[in-house]
Symmetry: C2
Subunit: 198 residues, 2 copies
């Protein structure tokens, strides 16, 4: 095959980057370290990716492919009842966060200096927001959305509530368990978004 060697090296670099990002030690995710971990020379990395920003971007795309993101949110879309859907949506998202956190963190870090990284990150945020939108609309349809918030405002509110920053602060910062965080988030989302019935 024409470029099997090239593809192989590229994969090794992407895998190495992924592993380093996941390690949580963001300072260690530099070109020399990535190259070493991938078992190639530092210059080989530059042959495949012009800059560090480009490499990190490529890594997020690579991870999405490998993790098959769409598959995870299947149960969410299948839930027909509003509150059930809200719970499943939050649950799926909270489960997904730890898996992408390393990369997310790196992208957030690059966001300010690198336009490409910012676009990549904004893309992800918008896709999450459209998930929020569908969830809120399902609530609304069932007449279970609180009367104090419009669909638009409720979408924004849910989006902010489930942000990675919040997870970072409570799970990583305050040492909440994944379960504690999920339960808290679902309970809070219901209190804030769901209409109280008599």
């Amino acid at each position: 095959m024409m470029s099997s060697k090239k593809d192989e090296t590229q994969s090794k670099i992407l895998e190495a980057t992924w592993k380093l990002l996941e390690s949580g030690d963001y300072q260690s995710v530099h070109m020399a370290h990535i190259a070493k971990k991938a078992g190639v020379s530092r210059q080989a990395v530059y042959l495949h990716f012009k800059t560090r920003a480009e490499l990190l971007n490529a890594t997020t795309r690579y991870i999405d492919t490998v993790k098959d993101v769409d598959l995870r949110f299947g149960p969410t879309r299948e839930a027909t009842e509003g509150i059930d859907r809200l719970e499943k949506f939050i649950s799926a998202w909270v489960d997904y966060i730890p898996e992408i956190y390393g990369v997310a963190r790196a992208l957030i870090a690059l966001r300010d200096t690198d336009e490409a990284a910012r676009d990549a990150w904004d893309d992800r945020l918008n896709s999450l927001k459209s998930g929020c939108d569908k969830t809120i609309k399902a609530l609304k349809k069932d007449g279970e959305l609180t009367e104090t918030l419009s669909v638009s405002k409720a979408t924004d509110a849910l989006w902010a509530l489930i942000s990675i920053h919040s997870w970072e602060q409570l799970v990583l910062g305050c040492k909440w368990s994944q379960k504690q965080y999920k339960d808290y988030l679902i309970a809070s989302a219901k209190k804030i978004l769901v209409n109280i019935k008599v």
Copy 2:
């Protein structure tokens, strides 16, 4: 006076750092630039602040002094009734955010690449958290804290709820007005944290 000159130089450095942080160009907040802006040599900066971390830390403290933070939170501390205190605390904090956002954003941006800035930022976060703690304890004292959360968990939750990231996302990102945000935050905090009475 023994050290009037020293104090003067120190102030010039702190002012220069502040201005650079506020400029929004986080990349430009490095020692050489700060020195130039302050009109002193780069080494003079190191005479006053051992590391960049220390300087950024000192700058946030300096800003607090100039802005007279304690004064703002006076009404909060004077509120004796739990729920009243919660409202006043959130209100004072939300009013304060826009004033410090420039510096906050810079510190958050620098936090990822720079251990220096992270320490400075963590200091600020911890001081906010202790405010949350007092607020939650006042709620608890009045028997108005929800039974589903411990004091510790409720403190963490309030802290996450009022985070700058959340403000950034909703006010700057989703174009909520300052009033909308404040009202939403107070209403949500009550729903999440306050015991529902019969």
